[in-house]
């Protein structure tokens, strides 16, 4: 099993009455709430935390893309990945990723990801999310009626831009390019591994299985909820008579490790409630624009899908009333002593069959000190208990070890002497 440290980079100083006095954390969140000095400190703390996770033994560090919100301060995760590429070695850079339909032309994504792969010495995982409705349709103005088609065309163009050796022309519906010939080319051959973070969508699963992409389910509702979705994914895998290799799938889980339950509550309750009460306070009108959920998805599993969405909407509305105890009991958070946390993750691995666990060890307004503690506890006391899970499987969805030659100058960290 592999373990990754995922950072959402939330704005850490939303007022305590944020939920009562503002309509939404996303799209039209008031600009007056943003203090650049707070942002400056947050970015630097968050990068420190990601670098610490890299040093202490995580396999990957993850950043992602969101727009116009206080929930995550990364309109460009590529900038973060570039900063991390220079300050880390060995650890894989999981860019979760670029919402392809938002880039014109999408070769920009192919170029920047190739830069990151070359800069990092072949450590990039390339994520291609469709993107949330808030980001794609409201903030970036894409019509939900064409979003998925545009996304698919963009993914196709990027894959060709990475792999075709000759200059080619691309006559798409949304992008027309006479000369596609990106420089640099990715270091990993034939291309970096591709991960697709997505919800429950038939198209996403087909896209992943057709192209050998990893499917990642990013949920805030824990693995009991996640199991329902992963079950549907594995059914699709079985239908195609493909092996149920756990490394084909990833899952995101909030985790809070302490000496015991009491310490977990003392350290992590406040940041957890900050996340669920403030960071998830999205106006319901921005959650499901007509056309965002594809007709194929609606038609395919119609009753199940709809009731799930209804339940989730209910869950959102209910969020403000949940206590720390509720969050832990419902499994939204896995919290407690290292033994407890390891047991729960073992259970998750059994039920979801996921080889890539993306851990959220920072959430809400957690301080740097607490984050480093949580990260260290997980790395030192939980990971060793789980490391051998799924070792019988090959992981074909992750960068290979040490693709860079030993004499690559970029990996030297000594300061350059002044002349």
């Amino acid at each position: 099993m592999k373990f990754h440290f995922f950072h959402l980079m939330p704005y850490p100083e939303l007022p305590s009455d944020f939920r009562e006095t503002n309509r939404s954390v996303w799209v039209d969140v008031p600009s007056k709430l943003f203090d650049p000095a707070v942002g400056h400190r947050a970015y630097n703390d968050y990068l420190d935390e990601l670098e610490y996770a890299a040093e202490i033994g995580f396999d990957g560090i993850c950043v992602n893309e969101h727009h116009q919100n206080a929930y995550g301060l990364m309109p460009s995760p590529n900038l973060m990945a570039a900063a991390l590429a220079r300050r880390t070695s060995g650890v894989k850079l999981i860019l979760m990723g670029n919402s392809v339909a938002l880039y014109n032309p999408p070769t920009r994504v192919a170029e920047e990801m190739a830069m990151l792969d070359v800069m990092s010495g072949g450590r990039l995982v390339a994520g291609f999310p469709v993107g949330t409705p808030m980001d794609t349709t409201y903030c970036y103005g894409q019509s939900p009626a064409i979003l998925r088609e545009k996304y698919r065309e963009g993914v196709d163009l990027i894959l060709r831009a990475w792999t075709e050796p000759e200059v080619f022309s691309f006559n798409g519906k949304y992008t027309q390019l006479r000369y596609v010939n990106i420089w640099p080319r990715p270091m990993q051959k034939p291309r970096p591994p591709v991960w697709v973070p997505g919800g429950a969508s038939v198209e996403t699963w087909d896209l992943c299985l057709d192209n050998d992409f990893l499917y990642a389910n990013l949920s805030y509702f824990g693995y009991q909820e996640g199991q329902k979705i992963l079950d549907l994914f594995w059914q699709q895998v079985e239908k195609r008579k493909m092996p149920k290799n756990p490394y084909r799938a990833g899952f995101l889980q909030f985790i809070a490790v302490a000496e015991d339950d009491a310490e977990a509550e003392r350290l992590y309750a406040e940041p957890a409630l900050y996340f669920y009460r403030r960071c998830l306070h999205v106006y319901p009108g921005y959650v499901n624009p007509p056309g965002y959920m594809s007709m194929a998805t609606i038609k395919a599993g119609i009753e199940g899908q709809v009731s799930r969405i209804t339940n989730r909407a209910g869950a959102r509305a209910e969020m403000a009333t949940l206590s720390w105890k509720d969050l832990v009991e419902r499994g939204y958070l896995v919290a407690g002593s290292p033994a407890t946390v390891a047991d729960r993750i073992n259970d998750m691995a059994d039920k979801l069959n996921v080889g890539h666990l993306m851990t959220l060890l920072h959430f809400g307004n957690m301080s740097k000190e607490t984050t480093l503690y949580n990260t260290r506890m997980f790395a030192e006391k939980v990971i060793p208990r789980l490391r051998s899970r799924f070792s019988e499987w090959d992981d074909n969805w992750f960068p290979r070890e040490a693709p860079v030659q030993a004499d690559a100058p970029s990996l030297k960290r000594e300061p350059v002497p002044a002349k």
Binding site: P290, G291, I298, E303, Q305, V306
Partner: protein, 267 residues
């Protein structure tokens, strides 16, 4: 009204409703498809022959796969009018349908003789932006579409949050399907350049707005009048965006007077 499926030479299939006797009217429906309960649509059939096609995508979103933009949409309607053999007709459109009517008239100025636009989408003014009806839960959309509460009670489709998952899904498919078709042509801003084409419209045009329209401000009447060669406007008091339902008598009176009395421009 009768419903039939009409197939065009390009293979596209249209559902078309027809009803009534008299001079021809092409009826271009609003946000929720051809509504047989629409009182203006019903009343007009007493003196006109109505042809009401269902806009592409409203029955099946796959219909939109070959219609990439507003120009191809106008072309598709042009093909349909050829196929139906309609000539010497008037057009009436409501809301999104009024935007289509204006675009047909701008793309093919010889088609319609007269045109009535009820609360049309299609223009944008930064001073009074068109409301974003898609940035709200479906169940709240009616709050800004309707002004007249009794009319809303009587005509608005009841969106009941159903505990029966099958029924909830069916409701959602229907609503999401038709609104998705609309988003293809109005997202994120319902302006596809109509302002630049308004002057191409050759037919006399009456633009009606509800005085209380919270979706498209009645102030857009000025924008239409400024761009149209033969345009007149009227604001209907006491009506919102759903003015044909809300002030039926007044809308009918203005529409019929315009259709019967306005002289055609000299060619």
């Amino acid at each position: 009204m009768n419903s039939e499926i009409v197939e065009l030479s390009n293979g596209r299939r249209w559902q078309v409703y027809t009803g009534g006797e008299g001079p021809d009217i092409l009826w271009l429906h609003g946000l929720r498809g051809v509504d047989l309960a629409d009182p203006v649509l019903a009343a007009l059939q007493k003196s006109y022959r109505i042809t009401a096609p269902v806009a592409p995508g409203f029955n099946d979103l796959d219909e939109l796969a070959r219609i990439d933009n507003i120009h191809e949409l106008a072309l598709d309607y042009d093909d349909l009018l050829d196929r139906l053999g309609l000539a010497g007709f008037s057009m009436i459109g409501h809301s999104f349908g009024a935007m289509i009517a204006a675009e047909i008239a701008a793309h093919f100025p010889g088609r319609a003789e007269r045109m009535v636009l009820l609360a049309p989408f299609g223009l944008w003014n930064d001073v009074y932006p068109v409301a974003d009806i898609f940035a709200m839960p479906y169940t709240q959309m009616d709050d800004i579409l309707w002004h007249d509460q009794p009319a809303r009670e009587r005509f608005a489709p009841k969106v009941v949050p159903s505990s029966d998952p099958k029924e909830a899904a069916a409701q959602m498919v229907k609503l999401a399907g038709s609104l998705t078709a609309v988003t293809k042509f109005v997202w994120p801003i319902p302006d596809r350049g109509l302002r630049r084409r308004l002057s191409r419209i050759a037919c006399p045009t009456l633009v009606l707005f509800g005085a209380e329209d919270k979706v498209v401000s009645p102030r857009y009447a000025d924008d239409f009048r400024a761009g149209l060669r033969h345009g007149e406007t009227e604001i209907v008091p006491g009506a919102g965006h759903m003015l044909p339902y809300e002030k039926t008598t007044r809308v009918l009176e203005l529409t019929e007077r315009f259709l019967e009395a306005t002289p055609l421009p000299v060619a």
